[in-house]
């Protein structure tokens, strides 16, 4: 889908980025100053790379070898800028519909729907200068959504939004990506968001892309610890909904070798879903425990134990084809005499599993 291989220079920094991603959400993840905004600007056509090639779903946007450089307005990339960049002289409404009346992009996305999603109903007649920080950001998101884009670039769009609002917007983006088939390039500092949303993860560090790949794979890579942030390591598993228990508000997901109970997953029986299970939320037991509030307990086999210095140990457990990642103290590893190959019981609290869904292709 999106295929990038470019190099250039930003200020003092040599810039060299290469990644490919399939449809869905591609996250750009990296420290402040790593070059994320620069990379998105190059893809959008606002900064010209020194050399290389960018193509999006078959269309070549930039190719230094052939001298191709599609102008910004022809790239049809909806861009949520890090600094909202609203038009100060236009009302919120005119900002939102700018692409329609000025860009002649019809698009069939529903205006009312977007306005409601972003909670902008009462702000439509206002000027950007009177909006709060979060309100500005929401208008910027709406404006890009309504521009009928072929690709949506979002540069830290949720940075100043509260959790409740994020929880509204993220599933929408998710849906957008799947239903409308619009790929999203998502810049974020929050590994939570990244893991929740993305299919492909691109790590950016000092203007380079040391690694990219499917997010599940990237999140279990232990060599990217610093970039992904240790506290938030985890694993993605996929499974099929086998039962929805209306009474207790629980959904049962068969991940192959175990059935997980998850709160209130808005899915129907038969759906394929993807779950993120954080390593810090996983406990291990040497034998199946009893009388515990933890509802998910299933056997698995330890495939790797990486004891870092400090109090932690990272443990990967195989469960048929899937891998679960656990972080426990080194002390517990010793106490329970854990070792590679040993059978253990994996414990996961139901409430710890993110409420999210994705139909995998």
């Amino acid at each position: 889908m999106l295929d990038v291989d470019i190099s250039g220079k930003v200020g003092e920094m040599d810039f060299q980025a290469r990644f490919e991603s399939e449809s869905g959400v591609t996250s750009l993840f990296g420290q402040s100053g790593a070059g994320k905004t620069t990379l998105t600007n190059m893809i959008a056509g606002l900064v010209r790379p020194a050399s290389g090639r960018i193509s999006l779903g078959g269309t070549v946007l930039f190719d230094s070898a052939k001298g191709t450089n599609l102008p910004v307005q022809q790239r049809r990339i909806g861009h949520v800028f890090q600094d909202a960049r609203l038009f100060p002289h236009l009302s919120v409404k005119s900002n939102l519909t700018y692409a329609r009346w000025a860009g002649r992009r019809s698009g069939d996305r529903n205006f009312t729907e977007v306005v409601e999603l972003l909670g902008l109903d009462t702000l439509l007649q206002r000027k950007p200068a009177t909006l709060s920080g979060g309100e500005k950001q929401r208008v910027a998101i709406g404006r890009a959504l309504l521009s009928d884009p072929r690709l949506l670039i979002m540069d830290e769009p949720l940075a100043s939004l509260d959790q409740a609002r994020r929880n509204d917007i993220l599933p929408y983006l998710d849906r957008l990506c799947v239903d409308a088939g619009i790929p999203i390039l998502y810049v974020s500092h929050s590994i939570e968001e990244v893991a929740r949303l993305s299919n492909t993860l691109v790590i950016l560090s000092d203007g380079r892309t040391p690694a990219f790949g499917p997010v599940a794979e990237m999140l279990t890579r232990t060599d990217l610890g610093r970039a992904t942030g240790r506290h938030e390591a985890g694993a993605l598993v996929h499974g099929k909904v086998t039962e929805v228990d209306e009474n207790w508000g629980l959904t049962f997901v068969d991940i192959g070798g175990a059935v997980l109970q998850i709160p209130d997953l808005a899915a129907r029986r038969g759906d394929t879903v993807r779950l993120r299970i954080r390593a810090r939320d996983v406990a291990l037991a040497s034998e199946p425990p009893k009388g515990l509030s933890i509802r998910n307990a299933f056997p698995a086999q330890i495939t790797s134990i990486s004891e870092e210095t400090g109090p932690y140990a990272e443990i990967l457990c195989a469960l048929e084809e899937q891998t679960i990642r656990a972080r426990i103290t080194r002390a517990s590893v010793a106490d329970l005499e854990l070792a590679v190959g040993k059978e253990v019981t994996v414990l996961v609290k139901s409430v710890a599993i993110d409420r999210r869904q994705r139909n995998l292709v």
């Binding site: 606002l46 790239r75 038009f87 000025a102």
Partner: protein
């Protein structure tokens, strides 16, 4: 006749002045916007020359500018003769000529504030417009131009005031013909030419000042509305 009633010739001069200044502005403003934008956004080899040409009417004494106009746009001048032959337009000794002189003299005053405003518009907003599909001209019309409105208004008011008061180039180019080219400024000059004209001169000065005052107040009100429209703090 009371002191406060305008005499017919005063009315005539006043209306003519307004017509000349308005026509001068109507023609120079679009051109000034274009030139200001080009000077603000592009660097090209002839940049300095264009810039200097724009300012030249300011540096030369108006009489010289008027004389140059007379030589080029006069009935016998190369451009004047051509326009007359081909389009039947003549600037010689009529109010359109006065408007031309006023427009040329006001031009540098209009260009500079507009250029400043264009330079102050954040190109990032134009980038945003383009990313939303607006082509160059559309993004100029919907983003850059509205954001530069304070400067355009500022340039227009300077230009209008200058066009109203223009004297040297006008009298040299189109002479001082009542009802045709005798604007308030020229009438005022005429009045000062004889000692007995003092009262008339004083009256004309008041009229000119009053019109200018009205134009300024109007422009201030417009500017304030604009500022509110542009979303500045209402408080």
């Amino acid at each position: 006749m009371s002191f406060f009633n305008l005499q017919p010739d005063e009315w005539q001069a006043l209306l003519l002045t307004l017509r000349v200044a308005a026509a001068a502005l109507a023609v120079s403003l679009p051109l000034a916007i274009l030139v200001a934008y080009v000077l603000a956004r592009y660097r090209f080899p002839g940049h300095g020359v264009v810039n200097a040409l724009v300012h030249l009417p300011l540096v030369l004494p108006p009489v010289v500018t008027g004389y140059v106009l007379l030589l080029t746009f006069g009935r016998k001048g190369p451009v004047g003769a051509f326009l007359d032959d081909v389009f039947g337009i003549s600037f010689a000794f009529n109010w359109t000529g006065a408007a031309l002189a006023a427009g040329v003299m006001a031009f540098p005053l209009i260009v500079r504030p507009i250029r400043l405003s264009f330079e102050a518009v954040d190109p990032k907003l134009e980038e945003a417009a383009k990313s939303l599909g607006a082509h160059r001209l559309v993004s100029f019309l919907t983003v850059t131009l509205p954001l530069a409105l304070p400067g355009i208004l500022g340039g227009a008011i300077l230009g209008f005031a200058k066009a109203m008061g223009e004297f040297g180039a006008t009298i040299t180019f189109v002479s001082n013909i009542p009802g045709e080219t005798r604007t308030l400024a020229l009438a005022l000059y005429t009045a000062t030419q004889t000692p007995s004209g003092d009262l008339a001169a004083f009256r004309l000065t008041l009229i000119a000042a009053f019109v200018a005052f009205a134009a300024l107040i109007a422009s201030e009100l417009l500017a304030r509305r604009l500022k509110i429209r542009l979303g500045g703090d209402i408080a």
